[in-house]
């Protein structure tokens, strides 16, 4: 029974990783760009949400907001921050140097943004973890000796729903087609009349939305936020993305869930200190057997969706 419980917890934790892993895989698949600010977007949604729910708007403009509007604004902040990164890393260097992806500059500057955002939050709120309270945090559903946390089930459903919607957007809509065409061949997409400078921000909005939502779900489920909350989730999400296959949306979903499962099962069998070894060990073994990941293609940039 305990084992089943751990499997369940693993899937629910994996649901959080899925959102972040899909955000990573989108920017890699479409822009060929490893966006290091992703973990901090996750953190921003949680910390801004917490701060608003405790202090309200800055300068005493209002009373503390409820948990839901606070988190909603937190998610908007993550989207805004993501667009800022697009403007000053990706677009700026692309305009200056042609193809931004040929350079390490966007990667390094996104790392810079990661640290700047993280330290801004540290200066504002210090490094302590903060409790995030929602009225239904302790709602459980007990079935056959299992404790199923209702917020967690809802958030798993929400993250999978968002990702399924994203997949539909990519395969069915005009803008999704344009994104995939741009991913494969930006030059040919331009010749079709796609304005690449306008379509790239869409990727960053989706990135901000996915990470912000994951951050909000994390805050609700685990009742705790901190300026460092993105670091662990970010690295696990990268592991999940690589396990699933770079650039594959369905791969990122599978990978995120697998990492969540590995984590809780590893704690169950070998104790808390074994988590990193199990996750990264699994990743290395898998890469030896299947370098392209579970759902990946050998040619990155081709047939990803």
């Amino acid at each position: 029974m305990l084992l089943v419980q751990q499997v369940l917890n693993g899937l629910l934790l994996g649901g959080i990783y899925v959102g972040v892993a899909v955000a990573f895989t989108l920017t890699i698949g479409i822009l060929n760009f490893l966006n290091f600010t992703i973990p901090v977007l996750f953190m921003l949604a949680g910390m801004v949400g917490w701060s608003l729910s405790v202090y309200g708007l800055p300068f005493g403009l209002s009373d503390p907001l409820g948990w839901a509007p606070s988190l909603a604004i937190g998610i908007l902040c993550a989207i805004g921050a993501s667009l800022l990164v697009e403007r000053f890393t990706y677009r700026y260097f692309k305009a200056k140097h042609g193809d931004a992806t040929e350079h390490a500059i966007p990667l390094v500057s996104s790392l810079g943004f990661l640290l700047i955002f993280e330290y801004l939050v540290l200066i504002a709120h210090g490094s302590d973890s903060q409790a995030f309270r929602t009225p239904f945090a302790d709602l459980n559903w007990r079935v056959a000796g299992l404790i199923i946390s209702i917020p967690q089930v809802i958030s798993l459903a929400v993250s999978l729903g968002i990702v399924a919607g994203l997949s539909l957007l990519l395969t069915r809509s005009r803008i999704g087609r344009a994104l995939r065409a741009t991913a494969e061949n930006p030059d040919a997409a331009t010749l079709m009349g796609v304005e690449v400078n306008r379509i790239v921000p869409v990727v960053f909005v989706l990135t901000g939305l996915l990470c912000g939502l994951a951050g909000a779900l994390f805050a609700v489920n685990y009742g705790e936020v901190s300026p460092y909350m993105g670091d662990n989730v970010g690295t696990k999400a990268i592991a999940g993305m690589v396990i699933g296959g770079l650039g594959s949306v369905w791969g990122a979903i599978a990978g995120g869930l697998i990492v969540g499962l590995t984590e809780t099962l590893s704690i169950h069998f070998f104790g808390a200190t074994s988590v990193q070894i199990s996750v990264w060990g699994l990743l290395l073994v898998l890469l030896l057997l299947r370098p392209q990941g579970l759902f990946g293609h050998n040619a990155i940039g081709k047939g990803k969706f």
Partner: protein
Amino acid sequence: MQLEVAGLDVRYGANHAVRSVDLSVAPGEIVTVLGANGAGKSTLLRAIAGATPISGGTITFEGKQVQSRNTATRVKSGISLVPEGRQIFVSLTVEENLLMGAYTQTGATTHRDVERIFQRFPNLAARRHSAASVLSGGEQQMLAIGRAMLARPKLMMLDEPSLGLSPILVEQLFELIAELNSNGLSILLVEQNTHMALQMASRGYVLELGEVKAEGTAQQLADDPRLAEAYLGAQDAA
């Protein structure tokens, strides 16, 4: 004139790839641009399409200067380029490739236009939901042209469309171009296959190291012994 290019300059750093080129295309005309490898033919077409930045000169399309407009605007105003090497999207399906061609078309007619292309190219229709990567070279060229047609162009520029096709397919390709032209579409054609190009075009330009070295009617170019030796013959022998 439908298209007027005047004093066009393109530089890639120190490489002056297109030098002060003047060129024009009348409505409904077929004009060809010839020249050896590296002469600047593709660069010229890409500059007209807005896909390669220019460093000087003007491009006038239907009376409006477009050189400072982006590619999307030029596609909307009726200039389409079928690029060198086809550049179809192999990770998209055949139908999605066509829909990408109609990207700038906001009207409700897109669906009908796509069906019309499928009627014209039954080979493509049979594979409409397959990845475009399964198409043969000839089918890929048809797809590239069909895709360009979906933008409803008034001027279609084709960059070496016959490259890599068997003689029969080249024949079919040129028939298709002639047919499109007979429906009123202007054509600016870059070709290695100079015989065929001069046969079908009314006028032509010969580029050498980015400069127009000769221009005239197709007949004049075909009869010019110097050109035959320097560019045209050499190309045919290759």
